[in-house]
């Protein structure tokens, strides 16, 4: 993980500024906009062909954006690396950050130059893509307001009608009460009135409907502590804890799981967007539809949208803008509507049968357009992601805890958000780092490393002959070069960045000096402390368990037998897999609903365990997963075991020692150097684990698997705070260095390097 960051920085340092197309090079247009997997590709290929036919000598390069996890990350990598990217698709919640960091090209001049352009062709959602002056920086792809899904059959069974527009919280609560059932009478509710969604954007409509606001009109102060907001959250809490008519739907994040609503066990599901129709279209067990959200003081809902933009690393902004217009044009928008990605931003496409297809559920697709006048975007702030992450964690506390003083929790949330807003304002006043500072630190570190290397080499001069010296230099060169370019230099840059403010959306040259502020923040950041605790807990369990398992396997597989080669191979093979593959495989194993492990537990008559959904079960699950890759350590132990003097074992047997005492007094002391090696490497490995939590749990549930490597990554690439991420890297590096040093020191007591008894 840290390597990824380092490599990005290295690319950046070496790559320099993007320049206009160089003479003689073929012109390329790099486009990365794929939506909902493969289904949009035929349309994209068509656009590519047409575009290339229209612009002779132009090569349109279509990049894949990637899956649901980290979908937004690839564009940031490209920007941070100053690599050409002409058109991409961003979530509108990112728009504020892109705009504030100057990462987008102003499309207004290009649009105005085109007489055929008219913003009127688009629904008003397009205004979410304007800056303060009203300039457009992107065109809409698809959007969706948050609505309420309902199970028509369950409502009918309770004698209720489908909700009408303008229905109220009271009506909603009554319907939820009427549909909550314990049908088998075991004291556990098995049919819920509501399956609630819980992220900030999904919870905001409740606040707005009750007359509350997230921020004041200047976007400078958080207003969570206002009574309307507190009351709104009290209402949602009461659905869960007082009325007991609602359950949180965890399925949104968990790929294979079927949510309550999909299983026919919830009458309402929401607030949530149009994207759920994509998986609900396979439901044939019951009839379902959508309704506007219920209202309180006023009607309101949130809106999600993606937009096509031209990033600052575009080398063909004019052509890119033209391509954006094609993507936001009637043909592609019609295709997106047919795929069912959301409501098209283009008015004609949204009102066409492509979107309002009566053959396809939901029957009331019109609702998504009807609620638009009351729909709002979240405030376009530069650090919106950091605020949203903070609020999501705080709100989960407020809503999930059995006991909670909502007013006090809201006060504290406002205070924390205010701090984030204040810091964002301060960032504007930061002083730019002198140009070339990072390059200089890179070069300086290289020079220092080279000097150190030469000094060490000079000291060894007396002992080596000329020919040996040359051989040593030649043999060391490739490794030293790699280590210098990809470790020493980037490490120096990271150290410098830890004292700076840099968003990967900005050019690296626009790095601003903050001094020790990042480290001061680390001291007070409970999420960082939680991630450290999670990592320590993971290391403290997975490393010893792994060591014991590896040693036990090595002892078992030590003897040569007919099957030993096969068994060794089988045990070793998984450790060759990339962590990504391990995570994907284990998703099938650990999935709480359809995973192999729970299937096995159930078939043995045991209870299923919510592996990835419970904060208590997820750590054991990760330790279990780490055990799968124990083969490398096993191999090291095996090699050491086979190098042992068998006569010592014989001597101990003659001396009367049993199996356990031989292991303790003869085998283990001789293995102690290897034990130390595996311990140190295992410790570093445990703190570096990234792909598994990133792909499997995204750090959850809660913060249980948000290990330091993942937190570092999220700080840098998700919350766009690369200086902070570098500070984390520096702190973790120091902590690991320190603990390794302590380990090595302590090892003098128990590691025996004494040569085997002389022959």
């Amino acid at each position: 993980m840290a390597l990824l960051v380092l490599a990005t920085l290295a690319l950046n340092c070496l790559g320099g500024e993007p320049s206009a197309a160089r003479v003689g090079e073929p012109r390329r247009l790099v486009v990365m906009v794929d939506e909902r997997g493969f289904e949009s590709w035929p349309g994209l290929y068509e656009l590519e062909r047409e575009f290339e036919a229209r612009h002779a000598g132009l090569d349109v390069v279509l990049l894949e954006q990637g899956g649901a996890v980290g979908q937004q990350d690839k564009a940031r990598f490209l920007l941070a690396g100053e690599l050409q990217l002409d058109v991409t698709r961003i979530d509108v919640t990112e728009f504020g950050a892109y705009l504030a960091e100057g990462a987008l090209v102003d499309l207004e001049p290009y649009l105005r130059a085109d007489p055929s352009w008219s913003a009127e062709e688009y629904l008003p959602v397009i205004d979410g893509l304007r800056d303060a002056r009203g300039h457009l920086y992107g065109l809409p792809s698809t959007f969706t307001p948050y609505v309420m899904y309902f199970n028509r059959d369950l409502l009918r069974a309770a004698g209720l009608d489908a909700p009408r527009a303008g229905w109220t919280w009271d009506e909603f609560l009554a319907a939820a009460r009427a549909t909550t059932r314990d049908s088998d009478g075991d004291g556990r509710i098995d049919q819920w009135g509501v399956s609630l969604t819980q992220w900030l954007q999904a919870l905001s409509p409740w606040i707005w409907q009750n007359g509350g606001e997230l921020l004041d009109e200047h976007g400078e102060r958080a207003l969570f502590h206002e009574p309307q907001t507190v009351a709104a959250l009290e209402f949602v809490r009461s659905l869960l804890h007082v009325e007991r008519v609602a359950s949180f739907d965890a399925s949104f994040e968990v790929t294979f799981s079927q949510g309550l609503f999909q299983a026919g066990r919830a009458a309402f599901y929401g607030p949530v967007g149009y994207w759920e129709t994509y998986r609900f279209k396979y439901i044939d067990a019951f009839e379902w539809d959508v309704a506007p959200l219920p209202r309180a003081a006023r009607e309101a809902t949130a809106i999600a949208m993606t937009a096509y933009v031209v990033p600052r690393t575009s080398r063909e902004p004019a052509l890119a803008c033209e391509f954006v217009r094609a993507l936001a044009g009637p043909r592609f928008q019609g295709l997106l509507a047919r795929i069912g990605n959301g409501a098209p931003g283009l008015r004609s496409a949204a009102l066409s049968a492509d979107f309002l297809d009566p053959q396809r559920p939901p029957r009331s697709e019109q609702v998504f357009l009807d609620v638009l006048p009351t729909a709002r975007f979240l405030p376009p702030l530069a650090n919106w992601r950091a605020i949203a992450d903070l609020c999501a964690a705080e709100l989960a506390q407020v809503l999930l805890a059995e006991q909670c003083d909502v007013a006090q929790a809201c006060q504290s949330m406002s205070r924390k958000v205010d701090q984030l807003l204040a810091r964002e304002r301060e960032r504007a006043g930061l002083v730019r780092l002198r140009a070339g500072s990072l390059e200089a630190s890179f070069a300086l570190a290289l020079a220092a490393a080279a000097a150190l290397g030469l000094a060490l080499f000079a000291r060894s001069r007396g002992r080596l002959e000329r020919g040996e010296q040359r051989a040593a230099l030649v043999l060391l060169a490739p490794w030293s070069l790699g280590a210098a370019l990809f470790f020493v230099g980037p490490a120096a840059c990271t150290a410098l960045l830890a004292l700076c403010d840099w968003s990967p959306l900005r050019p690296l040259s626009d790095t601003r000096w903050v001094g020790a502020a990042n480290f001061a923040r680390l001291l007070e950041d409970p999420s960082f402390h939680a991630s450290l605790r999670a990592s320590v807990a993971y290391a403290a369990t997975s490393v010893p368990v792994g060591l014991v398992l590896a040693l036990a396997l090595a002892l078992l597989l030590r003897e040569h037998s007919r099957w030993s080669v096969l068994t060794r191979t089988l045990v070793y093979a998984p450790s060759l897999l990339s962590p990504v593959v391990v995570a994907v495989v284990w998703r099938f194993v650990l999935d709480p609903d359809q995973g192999l492990l729970n299937e096995a537990l159930l078939s043995m008559g045991l209870d299923a365990i919510p592996w990835t959904r419970s904060a208590d079960a997820v750590l054991p699950a990760f330790v279990l997963m780490s055990c799968w890759s124990v083969g490398g350590q096993m191999l090291v132990f095996l090699a050491a075991l086979q190098a042992l003097d068998p006569q010592l074992e014989d001597a101990a047997r003659i001396d009367g020692a049993g199996w356990w005492r031989r292991l303790l007094h003869v085998t283990l002391p001789q293995l102690s150097p290897v034990l130390l090696f595996n311990l140190a490497i295992g410790l570093l490995g445990a703190f570096n684990v990234f792909a598994q939590p990133y792909l499997l749990t995204q750090g959850g549930p809660g913060d249980a698997t948000r290990f330091v490597a993942l937190y570092l990554y999220e700080s840098g690439f998700r919350r766009l705070d690369m200086g902070y991420a570098s500070a984390i890297a520096a702190v973790v590096f120091t902590l690991l260095g320190l603990s390794t040093w302590l380990l090595l020191r302590a090892s003098r007591r128990w590691v025996h390097y004494a040569a085997r008894s002389a022959r």
Binding site: R653, H665, P669, S757
Partner: protein, 352 residues
């Protein structure tokens, strides 16, 4: 102290035989040496007695109790290895204490026994050192101590002196002999060195290709080898073996026929030890031979003689003034002649 009985013990690995069915008894307090070239199965036999190897067939009895199935710990045997096999991470004192700790002795008695053993072997000054800091002789002394410290019933040695230099080897050899004389623990000692075998053993068992060829007191085995293998393996230089021919009903050698052997024994090989051959001036009545080479070793000198087609090695006084190429006559006391069957190599007793 123990009596050891091996009854038909054998060991095979697949189709290859490491040890042919062997029956052997070691008396209580006896020092028995297993002697043989490498790969003869002597270490296999030792490891079976120790309990480190399971025999393929046969029974092992210790003091009249069947011990084949017992663990080394239950057998209460001690083994001294060729490469010492000291625990490298333990100090000398800890090495000595380990077998006692395993047996759960009290701390005080362990300390006392370790001290006594160290005194017995002169290890007091080395107690806190690690094996890596000791010389080979010192390490083997510690290994001896570790074997002695728990007063085993049976003492096993697996080529204990092979890794040592000549002086240390001689010193430790004397020490082992005197220890045995003092403690009288039943001992099975494996070696390929005939000097150790002859000097240490109350009895010597000679092994070849997984089988015992002869068992007996050292001098008996030396004086009356039961076959050509034993005859040549013991003694340095080895016994001369000369095929004799049958000529008109008499065994003849070099044209002379006064060998006094009857003809009913078939083809024979004559054996005579180099130091029994007497050399005189060339004469028609004695066997004529020519000196091919002289190797002077100080007190002794080794001559190679050509006797017709045969070659003889002869050991003479170092002061004698033989010259290369000179002719000599060869004679030997008839009582010192050994006869072996030319085909089987087995000893043939000639009636006179």
């Amino acid at each position: 102290m123990a009596r050891v009985d091996l009854k038909g013990i054998s060991k095979r690995y697949g189709s290859s035989v490491a040890l042919a069915p062997t029956t052997l008894a070691i008396e209580d307090g006896e020092f028995l040496v297993l002697l043989g070239p490498s790969g003869c199965g002597k270490s296999t036999l030792l490891r079976i007695v120790a309990g480190l190897l399971e025999p393929s067939a046969g029974e092992l009895w210790l003091d009249g109790e069947l011990a084949s199935e017992r663990t080394p710990r239950e057998r209460d045997v001690a083994l001294v290895f060729q490469n010492y096999a000291l625990y490298p991470h333990k100090s000398v004192a800890k090495n000595l204490a380990f077998p006692l700790e395993v047996r759960g002795l009290s701390r005080a008695s362990i300390e006392q026994r370790v001290r006594e053993t160290a005194a017995l072997l002169g290890l007091e000054a080395l107690l806190e050192r690690k094996p890596g800091e000791l010389s080979g002789g010192q390490m083997q002394r510690v290994a001896l101590g570790r074997a002695l410290v728990r007063e085993p019933r049976l003492f096993l040695f697996d080529e204990p002196l092979s890794n040592l230099d000549a002086a240390t080897r001689a010193e430790l050899r004397r020490e082992i002999a005197s220890l045995h004389a003092r403690l009288a623990i039943t001992t099975l000692y494996v070696t390929h060195d005939q000097v150790e075998a002859l000097s240490l053993g109350a009895r010597v068992a000679l092994m070849r290709q997984g089988a015992i060829e002869q068992v007996g007191a050292p001098l008996e085995v030396f004086r009356r080898p039961l076959n050509t293998f034993v005859a040549t393996f013991l003694g340095s230089p080895p016994m001369n073996l000369v095929p004799v021919s049958i000529n008109s009903g008499r065994y003849t050698l070099g044209g002379l026929s006064h060998l006094g052997a009857p003809v009913d024994q078939g083809a024979l090989v004559l054996g005579v030890r180099p130091h029994q051959i007497q050399l005189g001036p060339a004469s028609a009545r004695a066997l004529p031979a020519r000196i091919e080479s002289i190797e002077r070793l100080g007190a002794r000198a080794l001559l190679r003689l050509a006797l017709r087609e045969a070659e003889l090695s002869v050991e003479v006084d170092g002061a004698s003034d033989f010259e290369r190429g000179a002719g000599v006559s060869v004679a030997w006391p008839p009582s010192e002649l050994h006869w072996f069957d030319a085909h089987t190599g087995a000893r043939v007793e000639l009636s006179r």
